[in-house]
Amino acid sequence: MSEVKNVGQAINRIDGIVKVTGTATYATDYILKNTAHAVIFKSTIAAGKITKMDTTDAEKSAGVLAVITHKNAPKLNAKGGIRGGALLQSPDIEFYGQHIGVVVAETFEQARYAAKLVKVTYEKGEAKVDFAKHAKEAVLPKEEEKADAIRGDVESAFNNAEFKMEAVYETPIEHHNPMEPHSTIAFWEGEKVTLYNGSQIVNGAQTAAAATLNIKPENVRIVTPHIGGGFGSKGGQWANLVLTAVAAKTVNRPVKLALTRQQMFNSVGLRQKNQQKIRLAATKDGKLTALAHETTTHSAINNEFVEPCGDCSKVMYETPNSLISYRVVPMNIILPTYTRGPGKSTGSFALESAMDELAYQLKIDPIEFRIKNEPAKDPSNGKPWSSRTTVQCLQEGAKAFGWEKRKMEPRQQEQGEYLIGYGVACGSYPARQRDTSAIVKLSRKGSDVKATIELAASDLGTGTHTIIAQTASDALGIPIKNITVHIGDSSLPPAAGSVGSVGAASFANAVNDACNKITDELLAKSGKQFFARPTAASLMVSENIAEFQTRMDAKPPADADQYSAHSFNANFAEVWVNKYTGMVRVPRFLAVTGAGKILNPKTARSQIIGGCVWGIGMALTEESILDPRWGNFVTRSLAEYHVPSNLDIGKIETIFINEIDTKPNTLGVKGIGEVGIVGVAGAVANAIFNATGKRVRELPITPDKLL
């Protein structure tokens, strides 16, 4: 084995240089000869149908090559796996800003201008866009996982409890807004189409595009070595991907299509608005006796997606009586989708706020209250934990944060014009490994052995390239500089996606297994017995082999399902609330995370910081507001949709719990992408209560809510 271990070291990302020098190729960075430019145009009503579409002026406009609408678009398979419809298959309008056509022109400016020349006449239908008005029409979701989950008798436990709380928490629609808007270059070679397109799930993008375009998967190639963020919005693929392919086919040239920032708000999904009713009951000494978490939300008119807000409530605390339920109302709003920490980030805001409220009522420290209700096994299914670090996260965090300075009563700390408060909130996210294949190729010149690792993994900017190189380096005995990582291409062996915190566990274990396999094969090939297991690199040299390769189809451990495996965290926030203006600052935030083996503490830290920033944004600034009359978003750019600015973010510290948990997978990697945002908003909201005595249950907590 190699002497210097790379896994677990905070090494710089291996793709850092190409990124900071601007040579990393994102989807639209590929320069293809003769590329035409496409611009999407959109509906200006939320429900109804197009009765007339006059494209004459647009078609005659300078540089225009084609105008594609429902009248001339090829027949596509709407059930092929592209999310959110809008495939130009009918005149029906289901939400404001639905794609209704594509203009292809020689230049982007020509296409954008011509798109404005299309005249559309609508027959307006009745649009359901006001959630407040339609929430009462919500019904049980069709999805099996969203059926009512009932243990014991919540109602009687709640009614008979001495200490209880009931409250409704509201979270608004949010948008992912990755730095790189969704964009695609498509070009056809005969029956085959290549799509440069940011894709969190490379093979998923390939199969969805193929099925929708009614062609074979092997005729679609997705290329996505670098992705400028996605946060779930590039997990499933949306109509813009296949419409680029359609446009390229129509004009028989490469076509580039990039959504504008404004178009991003009704093109690629969103985090739905949730109304979460929480009821908690406890004994006088702080043992929970009931936990009910009832979520009401909305989905698209013809498609259901419900983020699992009750998930954290299923696993975080011991209680004999529990109810988790969902109700959903179809509305004329684009299909919601996975958004960082789906369900858990929003659900934990509700649950962890409620825990804070009841702890305050009981006059028990909120950390102690949580520890009192620590479950010995997964309350939702009775499975043993593979490991559980909640208590450790809370205790180590409390020490590092200086929690002992917090006062139980609010409004006890003041400095100048600020009220100061501390808050804590916990989170969790399931740890899973998914099937992933990988090819390892070794080549040798003299004693210099190089490796190429190939798999259709993706790198959202989180460090996939780097952790694969680290893993392979250790497993093969080859220095990182001699390892080439080739990912983000559907022609490579199929891999899991960078979604649901499965990426690192799936990629690293598959690569590790592949490297072990190639070492086994080299050993067998040598026919020799070794006292200590040699590395693949040393075998290449000792056996004088020039080139060698193998493929591994890795699977999670057979017994992984016997355990309940999660990453856990505890979040600590210090907030300063301006007494006069209600403006909130977060000068200090600490996230303590138990996520098994941390492959690279540097990229992991960055990812947790990103989660904290978004969580702080969720708590304080982010909200997409619909006009309830027309269904358009009035927050339609990053000037109105407020993500935190640099000045909003203070010092963020991260601590990783040192733990070894190899039950979920061989390397003990549990994933950090999702859990990084879970619990963050709750910690901020709880700190605001501690600072001001005001309990704000409706996010974001903007200054007007604190007057």
Partner: protein
């Protein structure tokens, strides 16, 4: 973007002549607002007259005449340079603070002083061309009046328009009694008191200001004042940077002993123009500079506010912001 003619110019008279010749032409300076609006198809000029080569960038002290001791700021000076000019930092810190509270560093580096005055509202209904907006398309209605109007006006709005002027710099200029110098195609110069420069919407919200067609801002004059060290710009917003004001207050307090000789107060984020808080100013004359008096002044000023469905909070916030800004002004924000 619609096709347009690009016309570079090098003198004020050439520029104004170009606009006289083409009523659909617009001046192009920093372009930080105009180009965005053109991309969104809100502004549709057929010609852009580039004035960036005009020599109108100087900041200089006024050494003669009634405004001696004041300062004149070139219309094409960049916001960043203006904010950081030593004379302005020293004598008009209120202006510095207000400019630096606006936009982002990148935008301030591009944006011109004249353009800051002429920037258009950020009302989302103005930007979204499928929505009604009397400012963009007179007669189409006001989308915000009964729509999402949390960011909108509480003073001086009309049934035709409830938009607010987005500038921070202009709020300070209103409090500083600045004067806008303009020149028309006929070569004639005109001085417009700052508080008369922007207008209330009335029935013609398409007109943001009182410039005549083709007139060009050449400079902004600010008279000397006695509150350089007792002034403060307070901006309340949804995030710490790069957000438009929920409410902003530019406050200058001239003292005579412990009493207030005069106070200059202007509010941003509340009206179609920077809103001079004349009621509050009047009340404060001769009063002791105490928090109680500031609070009473603020109460008086907010009495005439008329909130819309989503912005009632601006009344309480306005009271607090005025009081707080005046308190901060007493120490020049160094409290």
């Amino acid at each position: 973007m619609r096709p347009f003619i690009y016309t570079p110019t090098s003198t004020v008279s050439a520029a104004t002549q170009k606009l006289k010749a083409n009523p659909h032409a617009k001046y192009l300076a920093g372009g930080t607002n105009l180009l965005d609006l053109m991309k969104e198809d809100v502004e549709k000029p057929t010609e852009l007259v580039d004035i960036t080569r005009l020599v109108l960038t100087e900041v200089k002290a006024i050494t003669t005449g009634v405004n001696k001791g004041g300062i004149t700021i070139g219309a094409l000076g960049k916001n960043t340079d203006t904010a950081n000019h030593p004379l302005i930092r020293q004598n008009f810190p209120l202006l510095t603070q207000s400019i630096l509270a606006g936009a982002s560093a990148q935008i301030r580096n591009m944006a011109s002083n004249g353009g800051n005055l002429n920037q258009r509202t950020r009302c989302p209904y103005f930007y979204e061309t499928s929505m009604p907006c009397n400012k963009r398309e007179p007669g189409s209605g006001c989308g915000a009046l009964e729509g999402i109007n949390r960011m909108h006006a509480i003073f001086g709005w009309s049934q035709a328009c409830v938009a607010v002027h987005p500038s921070d710099m202009c709020v300070a200029l209103a409090a500083l009694d600045a004067v806008v110098k303009v020149q028309g195609a006929d070569g004639k110069e005109r001085s417009i008191p700052f508080t008369d420069y922007h207008r209330l919407p009335g029935d013609t919200p398409q007109k943001d200001n009182t410039l005549n067609p083709g007139e060009l801002i050449t400079s902004i004059e600010i008279p000397i004042n006695n509150f350089a060290n007792t002034s403060y710009y307070l901006k309340v917003r949804d995030r710490a940077s790069y957000a438009f004001a929920l409410i902003s207050v530019a406050a200058g307090v001239e003292l005579e002993g412990t009493r207030i000789k005069q106070a200059k107060i202007a509010l941003g984020g509340v009206a179609h123009k920077p809103w001079r808080a004349l009621e509050a100013e009047k009340f404060l004359i001769g009063k002791e500079a105490t928090e109680a008096n500031f609070k009473q002044a603020a109460e008086l000023e907010m009495k005439s506010a008329k909130p819309l469905e989503h912005n009632e909070f601006k009344i309480e916030l306005g009271k607090r912001a005025i009081t707080r800004a005046l308190m901060q002004a007493m120490t020049g924000g160094k409290a």
